[in-house]
Amino acid sequence: MGVTKSFGSGAIIAHVLRGIDLTVERGEFVYLSGPSGSGKTTLLSIIGCVLRPTTGEIWLGDTELGKIKESQLARFRLEQIGFIFQGHNLLGAINAEENVAFPLRLRGWSTGKALATAREMLHKVGLGERLKHLPEQLSGGQRQRVAVARALAGSPPFVFADEPTASLDAQSGLKVTEILRTLAKEQGCTVLMVSHDSRVFHLADRILHIEDGLIIPQTEHAA
Protein backbone atom coordinates (compact mmCIF):
# COMPACT_ATOMS: atom_id res chain seq x y z
CA MET A 1 0.00 0.00 0.00
CA GLY A 2 1.36 3.41 -1.01
CA VAL A 3 4.69 1.97 -2.04
CA THR A 4 7.20 4.47 -3.36
CA LYS A 5 10.81 4.07 -4.32
CA SER A 6 13.25 6.79 -5.16
CA PHE A 7 16.88 6.52 -6.15
CA GLY A 8 19.49 9.25 -5.71
CA SER A 9 19.03 12.47 -3.80
CA GLY A 10 18.76 16.20 -4.21
CA ALA A 11 18.53 17.42 -7.78
CA ILE A 12 19.19 14.01 -9.31
CA ILE A 13 16.55 12.06 -7.47
CA ALA A 14 14.50 9.60 -9.56
CA HIS A 15 11.04 8.62 -8.34
CA VAL A 16 10.70 5.14 -9.84
CA LEU A 17 7.59 4.05 -7.94
CA ARG A 18 5.17 6.82 -7.04
CA GLY A 19 2.56 5.18 -4.84
CA ILE A 20 1.70 1.63 -5.75
CA ASP A 21 -1.46 0.10 -4.33
CA LEU A 22 -1.75 -3.52 -5.28
CA THR A 23 -3.46 -6.62 -3.94
CA VAL A 24 -2.88 -10.10 -5.37
CA GLU A 25 -5.12 -12.89 -4.18
CA ARG A 26 -3.68 -16.14 -2.90
CA GLY A 27 -3.15 -18.56 -5.81
CA GLU A 28 -3.50 -15.87 -8.45
CA PHE A 29 -1.32 -15.86 -11.58
CA VAL A 30 -0.73 -12.20 -12.34
CA TYR A 31 1.22 -10.48 -15.07
CA LEU A 32 2.87 -7.14 -14.58
CA SER A 33 3.53 -5.44 -17.86
CA GLY A 34 4.72 -2.04 -18.90
CA PRO A 35 7.31 -0.22 -20.93
CA SER A 36 10.99 -0.18 -20.06
CA GLY A 37 11.74 2.06 -17.11
CA SER A 38 8.16 1.99 -15.87
CA GLY A 39 9.22 0.50 -12.53
CA LYS A 40 8.00 -3.08 -12.89
CA THR A 41 11.32 -4.73 -12.03
CA THR A 42 11.81 -2.34 -9.10
CA LEU A 43 8.37 -3.28 -7.82
CA LEU A 44 9.19 -6.98 -8.20
CA SER A 45 12.49 -6.47 -6.34
CA ILE A 46 10.68 -4.76 -3.48
CA ILE A 47 7.94 -7.39 -3.25
CA GLY A 48 10.65 -10.04 -3.54
CA CYS A 49 12.43 -8.61 -0.46
CA VAL A 50 15.68 -7.82 -2.24
CA LEU A 51 15.05 -4.07 -2.14
CA ARG A 52 13.46 -1.89 0.54
CA PRO A 53 10.81 0.66 -0.48
CA THR A 54 11.29 4.33 0.32
CA THR A 55 7.81 4.48 1.82
CA GLY A 56 4.78 2.23 2.01
CA GLU A 57 3.71 -1.09 3.47
CA ILE A 58 4.03 -4.49 1.85
CA TRP A 59 2.37 -7.63 3.13
CA LEU A 60 3.23 -11.08 1.87
CA GLY A 61 0.54 -13.29 3.38
CA ASP A 62 0.47 -12.41 7.06
CA THR A 63 3.91 -10.85 7.14
CA GLU A 64 4.65 -7.18 6.82
CA LEU A 65 8.03 -7.01 5.07
CA GLY A 66 9.04 -3.75 6.77
CA LYS A 67 9.07 -5.56 10.10
CA ILE A 68 11.51 -8.21 8.99
CA LYS A 69 15.05 -7.46 10.10
CA GLU A 70 17.69 -7.19 7.40
CA SER A 71 19.46 -10.24 8.79
CA GLN A 72 16.26 -12.33 8.52
CA LEU A 73 15.35 -11.33 4.98
CA ALA A 74 17.51 -13.99 3.32
CA ARG A 75 15.84 -16.71 5.37
CA PHE A 76 12.39 -15.29 4.59
CA ARG A 77 13.13 -15.31 0.85
CA LEU A 78 14.49 -18.84 1.08
CA GLU A 79 11.36 -20.20 2.73
CA GLN A 80 8.60 -18.06 1.28
CA ILE A 81 9.63 -17.03 -2.23
CA GLY A 82 10.65 -18.76 -5.43
CA PHE A 83 12.46 -16.65 -8.01
CA ILE A 84 12.72 -17.00 -11.76
CA PHE A 85 15.12 -14.55 -13.33
CA GLN A 86 15.29 -13.11 -16.82
CA GLY A 87 18.56 -14.86 -17.51
CA HIS A 88 18.11 -18.30 -16.02
CA ASN A 89 20.96 -17.66 -13.55
CA LEU A 90 21.46 -21.31 -12.78
CA LEU A 91 24.74 -22.27 -11.16
CA GLY A 92 26.95 -23.27 -14.06
CA ALA A 93 29.15 -25.64 -12.09
CA ILE A 94 26.42 -28.04 -11.01
CA ASN A 95 23.88 -30.11 -12.93
CA ALA A 96 20.14 -29.53 -13.30
CA GLU A 97 19.21 -31.79 -10.40
CA GLU A 98 21.67 -30.11 -8.03
CA ASN A 99 20.52 -26.65 -9.14
CA VAL A 100 16.94 -27.48 -8.25
CA ALA A 101 18.02 -29.03 -4.95
CA PHE A 102 20.18 -26.00 -4.06
CA PRO A 103 17.54 -23.89 -2.22
CA LEU A 104 16.17 -26.99 -0.53
CA ARG A 105 19.55 -27.93 0.85
CA LEU A 106 20.09 -24.33 1.94
CA ARG A 107 16.88 -24.75 3.92
CA GLY A 108 18.51 -27.71 5.64
CA TRP A 109 16.73 -30.54 3.83
CA SER A 110 18.63 -33.80 3.79
CA THR A 111 20.56 -34.52 0.60
CA GLY A 112 18.37 -37.51 -0.28
CA LYS A 113 15.08 -35.69 0.23
CA ALA A 114 16.26 -32.57 -1.62
CA LEU A 115 17.52 -34.55 -4.62
CA ALA A 116 14.40 -36.72 -4.74
CA THR A 117 12.22 -33.60 -4.77
CA ALA A 118 14.47 -32.02 -7.41
CA ARG A 119 14.14 -35.09 -9.63
CA GLU A 120 10.38 -35.08 -9.21
CA MET A 121 10.18 -31.40 -10.17
CA LEU A 122 12.42 -31.90 -13.18
CA HIS A 123 10.20 -34.73 -14.35
CA LYS A 124 7.22 -32.41 -14.00
CA VAL A 125 8.84 -29.76 -16.18
CA GLY A 126 9.69 -32.41 -18.76
CA LEU A 127 13.40 -32.69 -18.03
CA GLY A 128 13.47 -36.15 -16.50
CA GLU A 129 16.07 -37.14 -19.05
CA ARG A 130 18.29 -34.15 -18.35
CA LEU A 131 18.88 -34.50 -14.61
CA LYS A 132 22.66 -34.73 -14.83
CA HIS A 133 23.13 -32.12 -17.54
CA LEU A 134 25.03 -28.94 -16.76
CA PRO A 135 23.23 -25.70 -17.66
CA GLU A 136 25.61 -25.17 -20.57
CA GLN A 137 24.43 -28.50 -22.01
CA LEU A 138 20.79 -27.38 -22.04
CA SER A 139 18.90 -25.13 -24.45
CA GLY A 140 17.57 -21.74 -23.31
CA GLY A 141 14.07 -23.11 -22.84
CA GLN A 142 15.32 -26.11 -20.91
CA ARG A 143 17.38 -23.90 -18.62
CA GLN A 144 14.37 -21.75 -17.91
CA ARG A 145 12.35 -24.89 -17.13
CA VAL A 146 15.06 -25.87 -14.63
CA ALA A 147 14.69 -22.38 -13.15
CA VAL A 148 10.93 -22.96 -12.85
CA ALA A 149 11.57 -26.30 -11.12
CA ARG A 150 14.04 -24.59 -8.76
CA ALA A 151 11.56 -21.83 -7.92
CA LEU A 152 8.73 -24.25 -7.15
CA ALA A 153 10.64 -27.16 -5.61
CA GLY A 154 10.19 -26.06 -2.02
CA SER A 155 6.47 -25.25 -2.56
CA PRO A 156 6.91 -21.60 -1.65
CA PRO A 157 3.68 -19.61 -1.26
CA PHE A 158 4.99 -16.93 -3.64
CA VAL A 159 6.83 -17.04 -6.95
CA PHE A 160 8.18 -13.91 -8.59
CA ALA A 161 9.37 -14.11 -12.17
CA ASP A 162 11.22 -11.38 -14.00
CA GLU A 163 10.60 -11.66 -17.74
CA PRO A 164 11.39 -15.38 -17.85
CA THR A 165 10.44 -15.67 -21.52
CA ALA A 166 12.34 -12.62 -22.73
CA SER A 167 15.21 -14.52 -24.27
CA LEU A 168 13.18 -17.48 -25.53
CA ASP A 169 11.51 -18.14 -28.86
CA ALA A 170 7.71 -18.08 -28.97
CA GLN A 171 7.25 -21.82 -28.58
CA SER A 172 9.71 -22.18 -25.69
CA GLY A 173 8.34 -19.08 -24.00
CA LEU A 174 4.82 -20.40 -24.17
CA LYS A 175 5.87 -23.82 -22.89
CA VAL A 176 7.80 -22.38 -19.93
CA THR A 177 4.87 -20.15 -18.97
CA GLU A 178 2.37 -22.99 -19.30
CA ILE A 179 4.50 -25.21 -17.08
CA LEU A 180 4.90 -22.44 -14.52
CA ARG A 181 1.18 -21.78 -14.49
CA THR A 182 0.22 -25.46 -14.24
CA LEU A 183 2.62 -26.22 -11.38
CA ALA A 184 1.83 -23.01 -9.53
CA LYS A 185 -1.89 -23.77 -9.70
CA GLU A 186 -1.22 -27.33 -8.49
CA GLN A 187 0.66 -25.99 -5.47
CA GLY A 188 -1.70 -23.09 -4.82
CA CYS A 189 1.16 -20.72 -5.28
CA THR A 190 0.74 -16.99 -5.95
CA VAL A 191 2.68 -15.86 -9.01
CA LEU A 192 3.60 -12.36 -10.03
CA MET A 193 5.36 -12.34 -13.36
CA VAL A 194 6.89 -9.32 -15.03
CA SER A 195 6.46 -9.65 -18.76
CA HIS A 196 5.70 -7.69 -21.83
CA ASP A 197 5.51 -10.80 -23.95
CA SER A 198 1.96 -10.53 -25.31
CA ARG A 199 2.22 -14.10 -26.68
CA VAL A 200 1.66 -15.46 -23.19
CA PHE A 201 -0.82 -12.90 -21.85
CA HIS A 202 -3.73 -15.28 -22.32
CA LEU A 203 -2.32 -17.48 -19.52
CA ALA A 204 -2.68 -14.81 -16.84
CA ASP A 205 -5.55 -14.54 -14.40
CA ARG A 206 -4.98 -10.83 -14.36
CA ILE A 207 -2.73 -8.39 -16.15
CA LEU A 208 -1.56 -5.26 -14.40
CA HIS A 209 -0.07 -2.43 -16.35
CA ILE A 210 2.52 -0.18 -14.79
CA GLU A 211 3.52 3.13 -16.22
CA ASP A 212 5.59 5.94 -14.72
CA GLY A 213 5.65 4.18 -11.39
CA LEU A 214 1.89 3.76 -11.09
CA ILE A 215 -0.35 0.74 -11.68
CA ILE A 216 -3.18 0.97 -14.17
CA PRO A 217 -5.48 -2.11 -14.00
CA GLN A 218 -6.33 -3.30 -17.52
CA THR A 219 -7.62 -6.74 -18.23
CA GLU A 220 -8.99 -9.79 -16.45
CA HIS A 221 -8.92 -13.27 -17.94
CA ALA A 222 -11.07 -16.16 -16.92
CA ALA A 223 -8.42 -18.78 -17.33
Partner: protein, 378 residues
Protein backbone atom coordinates in the same frame (compact mmCIF):
# COMPACT_ATOMS: atom_id res chain seq x y z
CA UNK B 1 25.08 -30.63 8.09
CA UNK B 2 23.45 -31.18 4.70
CA UNK B 3 23.85 -27.45 4.10
CA UNK B 4 27.61 -27.58 4.74
CA UNK B 5 28.01 -30.74 2.69
CA UNK B 6 26.18 -29.03 -0.15
CA UNK B 7 28.38 -25.92 0.14
CA UNK B 8 31.47 -28.14 0.15
CA UNK B 9 30.30 -30.09 -2.86
CA UNK B 10 29.39 -26.83 -4.64
CA UNK B 11 32.87 -25.44 -3.84
CA UNK B 12 34.49 -28.49 -5.41
CA UNK B 13 32.22 -28.25 -8.46
CA UNK B 14 32.95 -24.54 -8.90
CA UNK B 15 36.70 -25.15 -8.71
CA UNK B 16 36.48 -27.96 -11.27
CA UNK B 17 34.22 -25.88 -13.50
CA UNK B 18 36.58 -22.90 -13.45
CA UNK B 19 39.53 -25.16 -14.11
CA UNK B 20 41.82 -22.57 -15.70
CA UNK B 21 41.62 -20.27 -12.71
CA UNK B 22 41.93 -23.24 -10.38
CA UNK B 23 45.07 -24.37 -12.15
CA UNK B 24 46.40 -20.80 -11.99
CA UNK B 25 45.73 -20.63 -8.25
CA UNK B 26 47.31 -24.06 -7.69
CA UNK B 27 50.36 -22.96 -9.69
CA UNK B 28 50.59 -19.89 -7.44
CA UNK B 29 50.42 -22.05 -4.32
CA UNK B 30 53.00 -24.46 -5.72
CA UNK B 31 55.30 -21.58 -6.63
CA UNK B 32 54.96 -20.06 -3.16
CA UNK B 33 55.60 -23.35 -1.39
CA UNK B 34 58.58 -24.11 -3.59
CA UNK B 35 60.10 -20.69 -3.04
CA UNK B 36 59.52 -20.74 0.69
CA UNK B 37 60.49 -24.41 0.93
CA UNK B 38 63.74 -23.89 -0.90
CA UNK B 39 64.69 -21.04 1.43
CA UNK B 40 63.76 -23.03 4.52
CA UNK B 41 65.69 -26.02 3.20
CA UNK B 42 68.70 -23.78 2.66
CA UNK B 43 68.27 -22.44 6.20
CA UNK B 44 68.06 -26.00 7.49
CA UNK B 45 71.21 -26.81 5.56
CA UNK B 46 73.04 -23.76 6.91
CA UNK B 47 72.05 -24.62 10.47
CA UNK B 48 73.09 -28.22 9.95
CA UNK B 49 76.45 -27.13 8.55
CA UNK B 50 77.06 -24.68 11.36
CA UNK B 51 76.45 -27.32 13.97
CA UNK B 52 77.95 -30.27 12.14
CA UNK B 53 81.19 -30.50 14.08
CA UNK B 54 79.40 -29.98 17.38
CA UNK B 55 76.72 -32.52 16.54
CA UNK B 56 79.20 -35.16 15.39
CA UNK B 57 81.55 -34.65 18.33
CA UNK B 58 78.63 -34.55 20.77
CA UNK B 59 80.61 -34.21 24.03
CA UNK B 60 79.06 -33.55 27.41
CA UNK B 61 80.93 -30.29 27.97
CA UNK B 62 82.90 -27.79 25.90
CA UNK B 63 85.82 -25.84 27.38
CA UNK B 64 86.15 -22.76 25.19
CA UNK B 65 87.80 -19.34 25.20
CA UNK B 66 85.34 -16.69 26.43
CA UNK B 67 82.56 -15.78 23.98
CA UNK B 68 83.51 -18.20 21.21
CA UNK B 69 80.84 -18.78 18.59
CA UNK B 70 82.59 -20.57 15.78
CA UNK B 71 85.34 -23.10 16.43
CA UNK B 72 88.85 -21.70 16.23
CA UNK B 73 87.88 -18.24 17.45
CA UNK B 74 89.31 -16.63 20.55
CA UNK B 75 92.60 -16.75 22.36
CA UNK B 76 94.08 -20.29 22.58
CA UNK B 77 93.90 -22.16 25.87
CA UNK B 78 96.98 -23.65 27.57
CA UNK B 79 97.08 -27.43 27.37
CA UNK B 80 98.30 -27.37 30.97
CA UNK B 81 94.76 -27.14 32.26
CA UNK B 82 94.02 -30.59 30.91
CA UNK B 83 95.37 -32.50 33.99
CA UNK B 84 93.30 -30.23 36.26
CA UNK B 85 90.21 -31.08 34.29
CA UNK B 86 90.97 -34.77 34.39
CA UNK B 87 91.40 -34.60 38.16
CA UNK B 88 87.71 -33.81 38.60
CA UNK B 89 85.47 -36.69 39.61
CA UNK B 90 83.04 -37.77 36.91
CA UNK B 91 85.33 -36.55 34.09
CA UNK B 92 86.01 -39.50 31.82
CA UNK B 93 88.15 -37.86 29.15
CA UNK B 94 89.40 -34.45 28.06
CA UNK B 95 90.42 -34.09 24.42
CA UNK B 96 92.31 -31.03 23.19
CA UNK B 97 91.52 -29.77 19.69
CA UNK B 98 93.61 -27.33 17.67
CA UNK B 99 91.57 -25.43 15.09
CA UNK B 100 92.43 -22.49 12.85
CA UNK B 101 92.06 -20.95 9.44
CA UNK B 102 94.67 -21.47 6.75
CA UNK B 103 94.97 -21.83 2.99
CA UNK B 104 95.70 -24.70 0.69
CA UNK B 105 97.57 -24.07 -2.54
CA UNK B 106 95.09 -25.17 -5.17
CA UNK B 107 95.04 -25.61 -8.91
CA UNK B 108 96.82 -22.95 -10.96
CA UNK B 109 98.43 -21.52 -7.84
CA UNK B 110 95.12 -20.31 -6.47
CA UNK B 111 94.74 -20.48 -2.71
CA UNK B 112 91.61 -21.94 -1.12
CA UNK B 113 90.58 -21.43 2.49
CA UNK B 114 90.71 -24.44 4.78
CA UNK B 115 90.00 -25.06 8.43
CA UNK B 116 92.83 -27.02 9.95
CA UNK B 117 91.64 -29.36 12.71
CA UNK B 118 94.24 -31.06 14.86
CA UNK B 119 93.07 -34.00 16.95
CA UNK B 120 94.91 -36.53 19.05
CA UNK B 121 95.29 -40.16 18.04
CA UNK B 122 93.08 -41.59 20.75
CA UNK B 123 90.55 -38.76 20.89
CA UNK B 124 87.24 -40.47 21.36
CA UNK B 125 84.62 -39.67 18.75
CA UNK B 126 86.41 -36.64 17.31
CA UNK B 127 86.50 -37.27 13.57
CA UNK B 128 87.42 -37.22 10.90
CA UNK B 129 83.88 -38.22 9.96
CA UNK B 130 82.66 -39.43 6.56
CA UNK B 131 86.07 -40.98 5.86
CA UNK B 132 85.95 -42.47 2.36
CA UNK B 133 89.61 -43.32 1.78
CA UNK B 134 92.70 -43.83 3.92
CA UNK B 135 92.97 -44.68 7.59
CA UNK B 136 92.42 -42.51 10.64
CA UNK B 137 95.54 -44.02 12.20
CA UNK B 138 97.71 -42.54 9.44
CA UNK B 139 96.66 -39.07 10.55
CA UNK B 140 99.26 -39.21 13.30
CA UNK B 141 102.18 -39.50 11.00
CA UNK B 142 104.14 -36.24 10.73
CA UNK B 143 102.63 -33.80 8.20
CA UNK B 144 99.71 -36.10 7.46
CA UNK B 145 96.34 -34.64 6.50
CA UNK B 146 92.92 -35.94 5.62
CA UNK B 147 91.10 -33.59 3.25
CA UNK B 148 87.61 -33.14 1.82
CA UNK B 149 87.38 -34.84 -1.55
CA UNK B 150 84.40 -32.83 -2.82
CA UNK B 151 86.70 -29.82 -3.18
CA UNK B 152 89.07 -31.74 -5.45
CA UNK B 153 88.19 -29.50 -8.40
CA UNK B 154 89.39 -26.45 -6.53
CA UNK B 155 92.20 -27.79 -4.43
CA UNK B 156 93.79 -30.24 -6.87
CA UNK B 157 94.52 -33.89 -6.31
CA UNK B 158 93.34 -35.36 -3.05
CA UNK B 159 94.58 -38.87 -3.83
CA UNK B 160 96.12 -40.68 -0.92
CA UNK B 161 99.85 -40.12 -1.07
CA UNK B 162 99.66 -36.82 -2.94
CA UNK B 163 101.55 -33.85 -1.56
CA UNK B 164 99.70 -30.56 -0.98
CA UNK B 165 100.74 -27.26 0.53
CA UNK B 166 98.77 -25.87 3.46
CA UNK B 167 99.82 -22.64 5.15
CA UNK B 168 103.16 -22.79 3.34
CA UNK B 169 103.92 -26.27 4.68
CA UNK B 170 104.05 -29.44 2.65
CA UNK B 171 101.65 -32.08 3.87
CA UNK B 172 100.85 -35.58 2.65
CA UNK B 173 97.27 -36.63 2.01
CA UNK B 174 96.57 -39.84 3.94
CA UNK B 175 92.82 -39.99 3.46
CA UNK B 176 89.74 -38.18 2.29
CA UNK B 177 86.29 -37.36 3.63
CA UNK B 178 83.15 -36.74 1.56
CA UNK B 179 80.45 -34.21 2.36
CA UNK B 180 81.99 -32.99 5.64
CA UNK B 181 80.93 -29.43 4.97
CA UNK B 182 80.40 -26.94 7.72
CA UNK B 183 79.79 -23.23 8.06
CA UNK B 184 83.57 -22.92 8.16
CA UNK B 185 85.82 -23.51 5.12
CA UNK B 186 86.53 -27.16 4.24
CA UNK B 187 88.25 -29.21 6.93
CA UNK B 188 91.82 -30.45 6.72
CA UNK B 189 92.27 -32.97 9.54
CA UNK B 190 95.65 -33.54 11.03
CA UNK B 191 97.42 -34.20 14.32
CA UNK B 192 97.83 -31.37 16.88
CA UNK B 193 101.54 -30.96 16.20
CA UNK B 194 101.09 -30.49 12.45
CA UNK B 195 98.10 -28.22 13.07
CA UNK B 196 100.17 -25.96 15.34
CA UNK B 197 102.94 -25.91 12.77
CA UNK B 198 100.58 -24.86 9.98
CA UNK B 199 98.72 -22.35 12.13
CA UNK B 200 101.83 -20.95 13.78
CA UNK B 201 100.50 -21.71 17.25
CA UNK B 202 102.85 -22.11 20.21
CA UNK B 203 103.52 -25.63 21.42
CA UNK B 204 101.01 -26.76 24.08
CA UNK B 205 98.35 -24.25 23.07
CA UNK B 206 94.96 -25.63 22.08
CA UNK B 207 91.80 -24.05 20.70
CA UNK B 208 89.36 -25.84 22.98
CA UNK B 209 88.73 -29.05 24.89
CA UNK B 210 85.87 -31.48 24.64
CA UNK B 211 84.97 -33.22 27.86
CA UNK B 212 83.14 -36.50 28.28
CA UNK B 213 81.72 -37.59 31.62
CA UNK B 214 81.19 -40.95 33.18
CA UNK B 215 77.61 -39.91 33.84
CA UNK B 216 76.31 -37.44 31.24
CA UNK B 217 73.39 -36.59 33.51
CA UNK B 218 75.86 -34.85 35.80
CA UNK B 219 76.81 -32.36 33.07
CA UNK B 220 75.25 -29.29 34.71
CA UNK B 221 76.82 -30.06 38.05
CA UNK B 222 80.28 -30.70 36.62
CA UNK B 223 79.93 -27.61 34.43
CA UNK B 224 79.50 -25.45 37.54
CA UNK B 225 82.44 -27.11 39.22
CA UNK B 226 84.73 -26.58 36.21
CA UNK B 227 83.56 -23.02 35.69
CA UNK B 228 84.40 -22.17 39.31
CA UNK B 229 87.79 -23.78 38.91
CA UNK B 230 88.57 -22.08 35.56
CA UNK B 231 86.90 -18.66 35.54
CA UNK B 232 89.06 -17.48 32.62
CA UNK B 233 87.47 -19.98 30.20
CA UNK B 234 83.90 -20.72 29.29
CA UNK B 235 82.41 -24.08 30.18
CA UNK B 236 79.28 -24.89 28.19
CA UNK B 237 77.08 -27.92 28.01
CA UNK B 238 76.66 -29.40 24.56
CA UNK B 239 73.11 -28.03 24.39
CA UNK B 240 74.20 -24.52 25.35
CA UNK B 241 76.96 -24.41 22.77
CA UNK B 242 74.69 -25.76 20.01
CA UNK B 243 72.13 -23.08 20.87
CA UNK B 244 74.82 -20.40 20.70
CA UNK B 245 75.97 -21.55 17.25
CA UNK B 246 72.37 -21.79 16.11
CA UNK B 247 71.71 -18.23 17.25
CA UNK B 248 74.90 -17.02 15.57
CA UNK B 249 73.91 -18.46 12.19
CA UNK B 250 70.28 -17.40 12.31
CA UNK B 251 70.64 -13.99 13.94
CA UNK B 252 74.19 -12.65 14.19
CA UNK B 253 75.38 -13.76 10.75
CA UNK B 254 72.05 -12.70 9.22
CA UNK B 255 71.61 -15.92 7.22
CA UNK B 256 68.41 -16.74 9.04
CA UNK B 257 66.94 -13.30 8.46
CA UNK B 258 67.80 -13.31 4.74
CA UNK B 259 66.43 -16.79 4.14
CA UNK B 260 63.36 -16.23 6.28
CA UNK B 261 62.56 -12.95 4.52
CA UNK B 262 62.85 -14.75 1.16
CA UNK B 263 60.53 -17.48 2.45
CA UNK B 264 58.00 -14.90 3.66
CA UNK B 265 58.16 -13.08 0.31
CA UNK B 266 57.43 -16.41 -1.41
CA UNK B 267 54.40 -17.00 0.78
CA UNK B 268 53.21 -13.42 0.26
CA UNK B 269 53.44 -13.87 -3.51
CA UNK B 270 51.32 -17.00 -3.10
CA UNK B 271 48.78 -15.04 -1.04
CA UNK B 272 48.51 -12.36 -3.73
CA UNK B 273 48.19 -14.86 -6.61
CA UNK B 274 45.54 -16.98 -4.88
CA UNK B 275 43.68 -13.89 -3.72
CA UNK B 276 43.61 -12.40 -7.24
CA UNK B 277 42.58 -15.69 -8.83
CA UNK B 278 39.74 -16.15 -6.36
CA UNK B 279 38.60 -12.55 -6.69
CA UNK B 280 38.58 -12.79 -10.48
CA UNK B 281 36.70 -16.06 -10.30
CA UNK B 282 34.06 -14.55 -8.00
CA UNK B 283 33.73 -11.49 -10.23
CA UNK B 284 33.28 -13.66 -13.31
CA UNK B 285 30.44 -15.52 -11.58
CA UNK B 286 28.99 -12.50 -9.82
CA UNK B 287 25.47 -12.99 -11.26
CA UNK B 288 25.48 -16.56 -9.98
CA UNK B 289 26.39 -15.33 -6.51
CA UNK B 290 23.73 -12.63 -6.85
CA UNK B 291 21.19 -15.31 -7.74
CA UNK B 292 22.22 -17.35 -4.71
CA UNK B 293 21.76 -14.31 -2.50
CA UNK B 294 18.35 -13.52 -4.00
CA UNK B 295 17.21 -17.11 -3.58
CA UNK B 296 18.07 -16.93 0.11
CA UNK B 297 21.73 -17.75 0.66
CA UNK B 298 23.02 -15.55 3.47
CA UNK B 299 26.32 -13.73 3.65
CA UNK B 300 27.54 -16.51 5.92
CA UNK B 301 26.69 -19.18 3.32
CA UNK B 302 28.58 -17.34 0.60
CA UNK B 303 31.52 -16.70 2.94
CA UNK B 304 31.67 -20.42 3.74
CA UNK B 305 31.39 -21.26 0.04
CA UNK B 306 34.31 -19.02 -0.92
CA UNK B 307 36.44 -19.91 2.10
CA UNK B 308 35.89 -23.59 1.38
CA UNK B 309 37.24 -22.98 -2.11
CA UNK B 310 40.29 -21.35 -0.50
CA UNK B 311 40.61 -24.28 1.88
CA UNK B 312 40.37 -26.85 -0.93
CA UNK B 313 42.88 -24.94 -3.06
CA UNK B 314 45.18 -24.73 -0.04
CA UNK B 315 44.91 -28.45 0.76
CA UNK B 316 45.40 -29.63 -2.83
CA UNK B 317 48.15 -27.08 -3.57
CA UNK B 318 49.94 -27.80 -0.30
CA UNK B 319 49.73 -31.54 -0.86
CA UNK B 320 51.36 -31.23 -4.28
CA UNK B 321 53.79 -28.56 -3.05
CA UNK B 322 54.63 -30.56 0.07
CA UNK B 323 55.41 -33.64 -2.04
CA UNK B 324 57.65 -31.59 -4.32
CA UNK B 325 59.57 -29.81 -1.56
CA UNK B 326 60.15 -33.10 0.21
CA UNK B 327 62.24 -33.97 -2.83
CA UNK B 328 64.18 -30.70 -2.80
CA UNK B 329 67.01 -31.99 -0.60
CA UNK B 330 67.36 -35.06 -2.83
CA UNK B 331 67.01 -33.16 -6.11
CA UNK B 332 69.54 -30.52 -5.09
CA UNK B 333 71.91 -32.86 -3.31
CA UNK B 334 75.49 -31.97 -3.93
CA UNK B 335 78.41 -32.17 -1.54
CA UNK B 336 78.73 -28.40 -1.38
CA UNK B 337 74.99 -27.62 -1.36
CA UNK B 338 73.18 -28.89 1.68
CA UNK B 339 69.41 -28.50 1.71
CA UNK B 340 67.60 -29.95 4.67
CA UNK B 341 63.84 -30.16 5.03
CA UNK B 342 62.41 -32.30 7.77
CA UNK B 343 58.86 -33.61 7.69
CA UNK B 344 57.79 -31.30 10.52
CA UNK B 345 58.85 -28.23 8.55
CA UNK B 346 57.07 -29.51 5.44
CA UNK B 347 53.87 -30.07 7.42
CA UNK B 348 54.11 -26.64 9.09
CA UNK B 349 54.72 -24.94 5.75
CA UNK B 350 51.74 -26.71 4.19
CA UNK B 351 49.48 -25.80 7.12
CA UNK B 352 50.64 -22.20 6.86
CA UNK B 353 49.86 -22.22 3.14
CA UNK B 354 46.37 -23.56 3.83
CA UNK B 355 45.78 -20.72 6.29
CA UNK B 356 47.13 -18.26 3.69
CA UNK B 357 44.69 -19.61 1.10
CA UNK B 358 41.78 -19.12 3.49
CA UNK B 359 43.01 -15.58 4.18
CA UNK B 360 43.31 -15.08 0.41
CA UNK B 361 39.56 -15.67 0.13
CA UNK B 362 38.74 -12.74 2.44
CA UNK B 363 38.83 -10.17 -0.38
CA UNK B 364 36.23 -12.21 -2.25
CA UNK B 365 34.14 -12.64 0.90
CA UNK B 366 34.10 -8.85 1.38
CA UNK B 367 33.10 -8.39 -2.27
CA UNK B 368 30.17 -10.75 -1.78
CA UNK B 369 29.08 -9.13 1.49
CA UNK B 370 28.58 -5.89 -0.41
CA UNK B 371 26.75 -7.60 -3.26
CA UNK B 372 23.13 -6.47 -3.48
CA UNK B 373 20.80 -9.35 -4.35
CA UNK B 374 18.70 -6.85 -6.34
CA UNK B 375 21.51 -6.77 -8.93
CA UNK B 376 20.11 -9.98 -10.33
CA UNK B 377 17.06 -8.08 -11.63
CA UNK B 378 19.15 -5.51 -13.50
Amino acid sequence: MSRYLMLFSLSVSMLIHGKLKTIGALAGILFAILLAGQQLAALGGATYQAELFQAKANPDLWILPQGVKLLGEGRPLPETIRPRLLAIDDVKSVEPVVVGASEVLGKNGKRESVTVVGIERDAEGLGPWNLVSGEREALHLPHAVIVEDSFRERTGSTNVGSIREIGGHEVRVVGTTWGMLTWLPQFAWTNPQTARLILGMPERDVSFFVVRLNNPEMAAEVQQKLQRMLPEVEVLTHKEYSARVHHYVLVDAGAGAILLVSAVVGLFVGLVIVSLMMYTSVNDSIREYGAMKAIGAGNGDLAILVMMQGLILGIVGSFIGGAVISWIPTMMRAPNVIMLMDLGTVVQLCLLMIVICIVASFASVLRLRKLEPAMIFR
